[in-house]
Amino acid sequence: MMQPRPPRQLGLGASTTPGRAVRLGGLGVVLALCAANALGGEQGVNADRARVNYMLNCQGCHLPDGGGVADIPRMKGFVGNFLKVPGGREFVVRVPGSANAALDDAALAELLNWMLLEISASELPENFAPYTAEEVGRYRAQPLSDVNAVRTELVQKIAHLPLQ
């Protein structure tokens, strides 16, 4: 379904040691995080906090690296693609795992921005703008009733994206 594409040169050197700051390589990522910091409001981006929130809210099913298993779709190396197609940016927030998470809008925005760069930086659009809390709040107020149908549609759109 997906055409393999050469990865962009963004490092994914996240530390897995408890209590240590996540090390991110690549200027793009750093800039993106800075942007998220600026746009995300008072909370900014705290990679440790984002990672622990990922553990507590997502990892149980999506696995530590977002690889997916059984009927849990793979996010690693893929989820960034959603942000390239119409409706996809909303979709990533509107899926129940995101929309229903017991996190406020700022914390959810921080988690998603961190996660996208951590597990799917290569698939993000060139002009990726981090989510803001306000934006996340708007999207999550419209939960999806049929996740699988919407996902299938978006994945088809992604498959038809022109190769870069």
């Binding site: 408890p18 209590g19 440790d48 906090r49 990672r51 622990v52 929130n53 553990m55 507590l56 809210n57 997502c58 990892q59 149980g60 099913c61 696995l63 530590p64 298993v69 059984a70 849990i72 017991a102």
Partner: protein, 179 residues
């Protein structure tokens, strides 16, 4: 808070039983014994020396340890519901021989009395053997109803494994918690 050591009618006998360490054998009355072990331990059981805890194997590097991994009151088990893998041939962070650890699980936080810090704990089940039946524990700090599955210990988490048959539960420390 131990319900069975309160002066509730008819519980003297149970208190006596629960004070003995308990939860070491499977039996028809295992639930009670296990519950006794879980909660009586909080108040009454002396903490084992760190050396004993570490000799069990399965400890996590960089995490100071105290307590008995074969007892329900061990700090990592603050929201465990099921049979301790430590009593089934495994350890707090590894499965007994021949079983398969579930990749899908739920994750909570527990406070470590050795350093007062909270740690993120992943309660992966071990699967593919008949019910272990040893050291039944039920503790529920942070446990939530099953409509919040990522926080629920009522679920058989043998999912994404070859076999969905539940054998025992681990409590892997995967990160330092948020303060």
């Amino acid at each position: 808070m131990n319900w069975w050591i309160r002066p509730v009618g008819g519980l003297d006998k149970l208190t006596e039983r629960s004070a003995r360490g308990l939860a070491r054998r499977s039996s028809r009355r295992g639930w009670l014994k296990a519950l006794g072990g879980a909660l009586a331990g909080c108040a009454a059981m002396p903490l084992l020396p760190v050396a004993r805890a570490q000799s069990q194997g399965g400890m996590t590097q960089g995490v100071p340890e105290t307590g008995d991994p074969e007892s329900c009151d061990y700090w990592r088990y603050c929201a465990i519901d099921g049979f301790l893998c430590s009593c089934c041939g495994g350890s707090p962070n590894s499965c007994p021989p021949g079983t398969e650890m579930s990749p899908i699980t739920w994750i909570g936080t527990c406070q470590n009395p050795a350093d007062g810090k909270s740690y993120v704990v992943s309660y992966n089940d071990c699967c593919g053997r008949t019910t272990c039946g040893q050291c039944l524990c039920q503790r529920n700090e942070g446990d939530r109803p099953i409509y919040r599955p990522q926080l629920s210990n009522d679920i058989n988490w043998c999912l994404g494994t070859q076999s969905t048959i539940y054998h025992c539960s681990t409590a892997r420390v995967i990160a330092l918690g948020l303060e």
